[in-house]
Structures are given as C-alpha cells and as structure tokens.
C-alpha cells in the first residue's frame, strides 16, 4: 500500500514569501487540504487580509480577493450575499481580526454570516515589524512594548475564542495550535469541521490557530514552537468553545 504526502491541489506550486519557519505556511496547507478533501476548491472564494498573509492569494488555488486591513469579514459578507451557495472564508491575522477589524468580525458573527474564519493568532504584528497586538502576552517584548507588555498600561490580551463563543450567531468556535505535528493534525481536522459547518449552512464558524512568528518574536523557528507551547497555550487553552451541532 502506497501513500503519498505531497503538495495538495489546493495550493499553487509557488515559493512563499514567508520567513523561514513561519507557521502561516502550515495553516495554508491545512486550509487547502480541507477544501480539497471536501471537494470544494472550485466553489470557494477566499478573502485575504492585510498582514503577512496578504499574499495568500498567490498560494491558494481558489478565487481570492484582497481585503483592506481588518475588513475581510465585511468583504466576505458582500461576496457571500451575492453567492450564498459558494464557500467563503477569510484568513486573518490577530492585528487584522482582533484589533482594527474588531467590529467587522464581531458583526459577521452577530449576523451569523455563513462563512468560515481562519484566525492566525501569533501574538504580534508580523508584517509591520513586530508591534504589539491585542493578543500579545503580558511581559512579551515587542517593538512598541520594548519593556514587554504591561497590563497596567494596556490591559491583558483578548481571548477571542472565549469571547466569540458568547455571540449567539456563532455556530462553531475552536482554538487549535500548530506547534507540533500532533497539533497540526488536530488543527487540520478542526478546520475541516469549520468548513463543514458552513457547507451545512450553520452560519459563522471560526478557528483560532495559535501560530508562530519567529521573526517578530526574535527566536529561531524551533525555539518559537517551544515558546508558543510554553507561553501561549497556558493563556489560550485549546479546544472547541462552541459547536451548535455535532457534525463531522
């Protein structure tokens, strides 16, 4: 019996622009595999956001639209309302989704837009050079929090999955991580489930993916995986926070 592990048809054959060891690439693969597995590549429209993943339209083998910073959920809403029978997803960073785009993502969930959101929480603004994000951990150093984030100055990080589980319009909310092969496999399943929710018309689904930014964190790619495990997971527990229905 032969099994082949190779680039999925959901991805174009192209070098990515990501830094070495940046886990954006892993999540791209998981999304692309989910779309391929569910056989919806040709039926999918993706909304890229502003952040390191803005160029993801160069990688996903589906129709894609670039959204202004934070607005991908509004853009996805526009797309989905024209094509209710297509699969629509956004792919957003934590600066994009949890900071400038807070209103848009909350209201996509509120309206129960039948879209899937892939939310990359890497606790930092990667693209612009490592500034503080709303998800930056207390004590974590960034270029705009040179002494580390100080909760007495700007609070403690937002927990997006927990918050969104409280929005009535959300159907499926989960948090996963990609810091180890085991977790990557679990993340893949979760992302597939989120898309299945959309396929079956349950409304808003979101997967928060704890991800690394070795460049922004000033760590080697492998150190970054460990840092994620040791620091992010305790503050951002993994799991399914809401699931209105048990589907596969």
């Amino acid at each position: 019996m032969l099994k082949l592990f190779t680039r999925t048809a959901g991805l174009k054959d192209r070098q990515t622009h990501y830094c070495p060891g940046c886990t954006h690439g892993i999540v791209h693969r998981l999304v692309a595999e989910a779309l391929t597995d569910l056989d919806i590549l040709g039926n999918t429209i993706g909304c890229a956001s502003v952040g390191c993943s803005i160029l993801s339209y160069n990688y996903f083998n589906v129709d894609m639209i670039e959204s202004a910073h934070g607005r991908a959920p509004a853009v996805a809403t526009g797309v989905k309302r024209v094509h209710p029978d297509r699969i629509v997803f956004t792919y957003q960073g934590d600066g994009d989704l949890a900071s400038i785009g807070t209103a848009e993502i909350v209201h996509a969930a509120h309206r129960s837009e039948n879209i899937t959101v892939i939310f990359i929480n890497n606790a930092i603004y990667g693209m612009t050079g490592g500034q503080m994000a709303p998800t930056t951990l207390v004590g974590q150093k960034t270029t705009t929090a040179p002494k580390g984030r100080d909760a007495s100055h700007c609070g403690s990080p937002l927990r997006i999955a927990e918050m969104f589980a409280k929005i009535p319009g959300a159907s499926y909310i989960a948090r996963v991580s990609v810091h180890s092969a085991k977790h990557v496999r679990q993340a893949g399943k979760t992302i597939r489930t989120a898309f299945a929710y959309q396929q079956q018309g349950y409304g808003f689904s979101m997967v928060e993916v704890l991800s690394t930014c070795p460049t922004g964190w000033g760590l080697s790619p492998v150190e970054a995986l460990d840092w994620l495990e040791d620091n992010m997971i305790p503050y951002y527990p993994l799991g399914v926070y809401k699931a209105v229905e048990t589907i596969s």
């Binding site: 622009h17 830094c19 070495p20 390191c52 693209m127």
Partner: protein, 189 residues
Amino acid sequence: MKSQKLICAGFGGQGVMSLGQLLAYAGMIEGREVSWLPSYGPEMRGGTAYCCVNIADRPIGSPLISDDADCAIVMNLPSFHKFEPLVVPGGRVLVNSSLIDEQSTRADLHAYYIPANEIAVTCGNVKMANMVMLGAYIKLTGVVSESSVMKAFGKVFTKKTPQLRKQNKAALKHGAASISDQVPLPAAI
C-alpha cells in the same frame, strides 16, 4: 573634496545597512553633508537589501542613487547583477568574491574582488565581512578616515564590547590591505 555616491547591497543579514550608516556617520563627523537611504519593506528573506550613501560638500539633493553611483559594494550575486549597471563610467565596483564568483564585464569600471567572508573569519567574526568591504572602500576613495569610522562605530551600534571594537578595526585594516596589491580589473580605461 569630491563627493561620493555609494550603493551598498547584499542579503538581509550581511550588514550592508550598517556599513552605509557607518560611512555616513563618519562623513558627518568630518563635517561633510551626508545622507543614507535604505531600501525598506517586508523583503522576502533571501532577497536583497541595499542602501545609498551620499557624501558631499553641499546639501544633498536626491538621497537616492538611480544611475550615477560612483561606487557599488556588492555582497551577493543578485546585488552584483542589479547594481553594477548603475555605476558611472570610471567608477568602482567592490565585489565580495567569497559569495560571488562572477566577474565584471564592464570595461569602463574599476572592479575589485575581495574575499570578505574569508578575511572576516580571520579577523575572528564572519559577521565582519561588511567592515572588510568598508575598509577597502575608504582606502580606495579616501572619502573618510579610518578613525572617523571607528568614532562612528560608537554611535551606530548599541552593542559595542571592546572585543567587537577590536575585531572591527582589524576587519577595516584587513579590508584596506586586501586591495593594496590589487590592480583593478580591467586595468585601465
């Protein structure tokens, strides 16, 4: 004194930005007008970064050097291809021959081949390859003195242990020495 327009280019980690800053700082210390302009933006790692340095005796107009560089210091192959054409006839190109094994085909340039990485290793730190190139450059042009560069060193770098200082100085000297016996190729125009 003649003004100098230098383009300095290489991979992200090769220190081309600080090479340019040191030179500009040294120029300022010597009372001249200077400017330093970096390429910027989310470069794909493995891409090429560069900076432009102007040193002159009157206020600097455009800090960008588009097609009239007096000299290009190139630390990797893509930089060599991109910037060699921008040097004026009669100008210089300083090539890091540790990483570039092509040679200039322009007959109107003075080309110098400096195995900067290897020389840097002999100075105790491969990261000093940029200083090797700078040493060669100031030796060739005389645009600033080595001591001004060493003064600038204190300003540009936040980390400045005595050991780094020493390695730095050594790299400058070895760089200068590396071209003392070189006949620039092609020999003349």
